[in-house]
């Protein structure tokens, strides 16, 4: 796991002094069309062949982990939106479940089902974005527009559910911000019905496209051993043939009740990762359909957790008991027992983990985020070497990272 992290600027300086080595040092990013945000790659090129690639991170560092120590558990929910900002609903759910594990709190089935549906819709949305961006990276613009049209429909659903298109902040510790609106599940089903044929159509643009296959097959191969050694998770690990999926391995939020398959690649090249993502979208639709088919009624928040989940607004305004409860929750935060917990959820990009140390009270003592994109990016120095300059773009696109959660 020896990632050779050198100081990029220092490396460039020494290279400038050594005129005898005729290698070109190219700083790709942080402002570059295909580094998907603010990733910077310090490349060393021999002609067009990469001899060294150092990812330079931290351009989007906001200190989320430190911020978490200064606010109550519920106040941190909006910050989880901004981790993997392509799938905020999944982040919200993962964070809420982590804190609920700390409190040893069981949320009702309806809440679990809603979290599953939203997480899977978020997965579809994130993979669509990944697919579209990947299309742009290899030069196929139309794929991007096709997938964005679908994402727009998803955003309409998210907006109806949460009031926001992008930064949803939908979870609360012990429940959700609100119940699903009337008829929302039917609209989700309608979306699923029309989405699948369009997905097939979009994928057809690439899957058997000779140029796309040339660009991705055999490029950026991550072996099974490397995938494990570098701590890859999510579609990137599965593309390399590592069949890990936390939804199956350590089911949470009632994922064990649904039937779905885990697509696994064989060679671990860019093409496999693309295929895995395509199949995962189909599986997500399958899960959403199952979840809606047996959508449970009943409460959508933990009713027995008076010190964690805020009472309903109507009662706050009419009853003294609830008013006090609300006041305590808002000022002190949801009351957690002392202890520590680590919880990982299968997010679109991989395993998003929250490690929380609590000393009791409404504020975490320490909150550590295990960001899947960060671990996935660690493999770049290994896979990029020996590839062409243009391959870096397809590799980055196939790794499908988000700097928001990578830099935190």
């Amino acid at each position: 796991m020896a990632t050779d992290m050198t100081f990029p600027d220092a490396a460039a300086r020494t290279a400038a002094q050594n005129h005898d080595q005729e290698k070109m040092h190219l700083s790709m990013g942080p402002s570059h069309p295909s580094t998907h945000g603010v990733l910077r790659l310090q490349l060393e090129l021999d002609g067009e062949i990469i001899t060294k690639a150092d990812p330079v991170l931290g351009y989007l560092h906001r200190g989320d982990e430190k911020i978490a120590e200064n606010m109550t558990y519920n106040q941190f929910v909006p910050y989880t939106d901004r981790l993997d900002y392509l799938a905020p609903l999944a982040n919200n759910a993962a964070y809420a479940i982590a804190v609920e594990r700390l409190a040893k709190l069981e949320v009702p089935e309806r809440c679990q089902a809603i979290r599953v549906i939203t997480s899977e819709l978020a997965r579809i949305s994130a993979h669509l974005m990944g697919l579209g961006a990947y299309g742009i990276d290899v030069g196929a613009w139309t794929v991007f527009l096709y997938s964005f049209t679908e994402r727009e429909k998803l955003y309409k659903l998210f907006e109806e559910l949460t009031g926001a298109r992008f930064t949803t902040s939908y979870s609360r510790i012990g429940g959700l911000a609100r119940d699903v609106p009337e008829g929302w599940t039917d609209r989700v089903l309608a979306f699923c019905d029309q989405f699948l044929p369009i997905l097939e159509e979009t994928l057809t643009l690439l899957t058997r496209n000779k140029i796309f296959m040339d660009r991705t097959m055999g490029v950026g191969i991550i072996s099974k051993e490397d995938a494990i050694a570098y701590g890859l998770t999510g579609p990137n690990a599965r593309g390399s043939g590592v069949a890990i999926d936390l939804r199956k391995d350590k089911p949470y939020s009632g994922y064990d009740k649904y039937e779905f398959d885990i697509p696994v690649g064989t060679t671990g090249d860019c093409y496999d990762r693309y295929m895995v993502r395509g199949e995962e979208m189909r599986q997500s639709v399958r899960i959403v359909r199952q979840a809606i088919a047996k959508f449970p009624s009943g409460p959508w928040y933990a009713t027995d957790a008076k010190k964690i989940f805020a009472p309903q607004k109507g009662k706050v305004l009419s009853s003294m008991e609830e008013l006090i409860q609300n006041f305590m929750l808002v000022t002190e935060g949801p009351q957690m027992p002392a202890g520590e917990v680590y919880f990982e959820a299968e997010n679109p990009k991989g395993a998003l983990g929250f490690y929380i140390v609590s000393k009791g009270g409404g504020v975490p003592y320490r909150l550590k985020i295990r960001a899947p994109s960060f671990c996935n990016l660690s493999v770049i120095p290994k896979v990029c070497v020996g590839e062409m300059m243009a391959d870096v773009v397809s590799i980055l696109g196939s790794l499908d990272f988000v700097m928001g959660e990578c830099d935190r």
Binding site: G135, I136, I211, A390
Partner: protein
């Protein structure tokens, strides 16, 4: 001036069409807002032109003219300014060698409409248009930026390797139109003449008699004009913008116009050589159409008709260019080279040999 007067609006229309066609392909409305306030009062035409985005063309052009023309501090100023000018010169001057129509003179002969009717027309087009690569290399070098530099190098290597197959692909046509013993010609209008003769073989377009040549020429045309899937010089995904990364405003637009000019001229040559020039349909030459319409006596009308047909074909070709661009991904640089040297070039040589034998057999 005539060239500029025709080519600039045509290139501008291309940029508009590019935006609109990409929008159609991608299922979005595309540019449909800009309209001068006084034009919106025109009842039917106004809204139609607005929806077609016709005024964005004007807005774009004006924007390029009035934008601040930034010359970055780190560039080699002299060559940086020279490069776009150098791009325009071959792009505009090749047009003069391309016949764009024909009229029937008083003697009843079809005479081509052409600005400079030189006998080596095709050779001149090739020679001058390949000068365009110098501007790309110069721009890449003068920009003093690594991305531009890579783009320039890619472009030069690519253009050189595809020029070869392209030239080899047209040799069969030249062999066909040049009977041994007579004065040789490389005139493009001669090629059209040969496609408008009576009889089955005489009337057939060369695209039907020499499909492989046509295919190779078409592929090379995409590579030569730096269009997707061969836009190595630009490849905005990895090289940001390639050779024109550092350019902006009017200088950038000159590169842009030059690219479209190359596309237009390339399509024109392709149509002249393989798709019958100004003949409306295979086995239906212009002269018989003129006879059908009883306008043989009106040379002006026939000329306009031929120009119209030719222009229509060019527009169809441009549509093909855009259609391909918005449909397929981009090749990698080494794949482009491999395709050029290992596939197209042997195929072109083989095609040439086969055609030589075929012509020898037919002529005996």
């Amino acid at each position: 001036m005539a060239v500029i007067g025709v080519m600039f609006p045509l290139a501008g229309a291309c940029s508009m069409a590019e935006r609109k066609i990409s929008a159609w392909i991608q299922g979005r409305p595309g540019p449909n807002r800009a309209i001068p306030f006084w034009f919106s009062w025109v009842p039917v035409l106004g809204p139609i032109l607005q929806k077609l985005g016709a005024f964005h063309l004007l807005a774009d052009g004006l924007k390029f003219l009035f934008k601040e023309d930034v010359v970055p501090g780190h560039v080699n100023k002299k060559y940086f300014i020279a490069a776009p000018i150098l791009a325009m010169i071959p792009a505009l001057s090749t047009v003069t060698f391309v016949p764009f129509g024909a009229y029937i003179d008083l003697g009843g002969n079809l005479t081509p409409l052409i600005l400079a009717n030189v006998d080596v027309g095709l050779l001149a087009v090739f020679a001058v248009s390949s000068l365009g690569v110098y501007s790309v290399v110069l721009a890449g070098w003068a920009s003093n930026s690594k991305y531009s530099f890579l783009g320039g190098i890619r472009a030069s290597a690519q253009l050189i390797s595809y020029e070869l197959s392209m030239t080899l692909a047209v040799v069969p046509v030249l062999l066909w139109i040049n009977a041994p013993g007579t004065a040789g010609t490389m005139s493009l209008s001669k090629a059209v003449e040969f496609q408008s003769q009576p009889g089955f073989w005489g009337g057939a377009w060369f695209a039907f008699t020499m499909p492989i040549s046509a295919l190779i020429f078409l592929i090379c045309l995409f590579a030569e004009t730096n269009r997707q899937p061969f836009d190595m010089a630009e490849s905005e995904a990895d090289l940001v913008g390639g050779f024109h990364t550092e350019y902006g405003a009017f200088k950038w637009s000159l590169f842009f116009v030059a690219e479209y000019c190359h596309m237009i001229v390339g399509s024109a040559v392709f149509i002249l050589l393989f798709f019958g020039g100004w003949n409306p349909l295979p086995w239906l030459p212009l002269s018989s159409v003129a006879a059908l319409l009883h306008i043989t006596e009106l040379p002006l009308l026939v000329g306009l008709l031929s120009i119209g047909i030719f222009l229509g074909k060019i527009l169809a070709m441009l549509f093909l260019f855009m259609w391909v661009r918005w449909t397929v991904p981009r090749f990698r640089y080494d794949q482009v080279m491999k395709l050029g040297w290992q596939k197209l070039l042997p195929l072109a040589i083989l095609n040439l040999l086969v055609t030589i034998i075929a012509i020898a057999v037919i002529q005996h």
